[in-house]
């Protein structure tokens, strides 16, 4: 029983160290990257892995806390990609473009098409209003 506890403790310490290194690298990426989308990539991926690893390590060191820690891990794994996706979509639609030019930008065409569709719909609504008047 004692050796099992020791093994779990050392495993947990390794996870905590690994996770904190990943958190540090993610924050360094947030500070150093040249562009909004690069920053989003570095920040979200590295910090999600780091936070999950730190929480799992604490759970291995203290097994009676494991249930709530697993809930935290699941919540981080669901919510962090969602929030970064929402931020990227919002900033693209706001008009912030990537720093390096790309040859093909499929999402831009889609945004343009949606804008034109909205304009057509507005014109239709105005025509219907005129007829009704």
């Amino acid at each position: 029983m004692d050796t099992l506890n020791n093994i779990l403790t050392y495993l947990g310490l390794g996870f905590v160290l690994l996770g904190s290194i990943f958190l540090f690298l993610g924050a360094l990426g947030i500070y150093r990257m040249p562009d909004l989308y690069n920053r989003l990539q570095a920040g979200t991926k590295a910090s999600t892995l780091g936070a999950m690893s730190v929480v799992l390590g604490v759970g291995l060191m203290q097994p009676s806390w494991m249930i709530k820690l697993i809930v935290i891990i699941l919540f981080i794994g669901i919510s962090n990609p969602l929030s970064s996706h929402a931020l990227a979509r919002a900033s693209y639609r706001r008009g912030i473009r990537p720093f390096f030019k790309k040859k093909i930008d499929a999402y831009e065409q889609e945004v343009e098409r949606e804008k034109q569709q909205r304009k057509k719909n507005q014109i239709k609504v105005e025509k219907v209003k005129e007829v009704a008047d």
């Binding site: 160290l17 540090f24 910090s47 936070a51 604490v58 919540f75 931020l87």
Partner: protein, 85 residues
């Protein structure tokens, strides 16, 4: 044994300082929102680690509530950036 946890806490604090520098500098509002998101994730990990160090169970509940509130805040900020609320 505890020295590794101290090293981890130092790394996490340097990381939160770097993210805070981006929060101060960031040219656009979306940059600041990203830095805030990373800061909240770093804060969750730090709370759990401090809870283990002080042997207090209530820090875990605190981390859970902070995770939920940070997620809702980021979604609201993203909606605000996309169009008006």
């Amino acid at each position: 044994m505890n020295i590794i946890i101290y090293i981890s806490i130092v790394l996490i604090s340097i990381g939160s300082f770097l993210a805070f520098m981006r929060f101060v500098k960031g040219p656009t509002a979306a940059d600041r929102a990203i830095a805030l998101d990373t800061l909240s994730v770093i804060g969750i990990a730090g709370l759990v680690l401090l809870g283990y160090l002080f042997k207090r169970y209530i820090y875990i509940d605190l981390a859970l509530v902070y995770a939920v509130l940070g997620f809702i805040g980021i979604i609201v900020i993203a909606r605000y950036i996309e169009k008006a609320l």
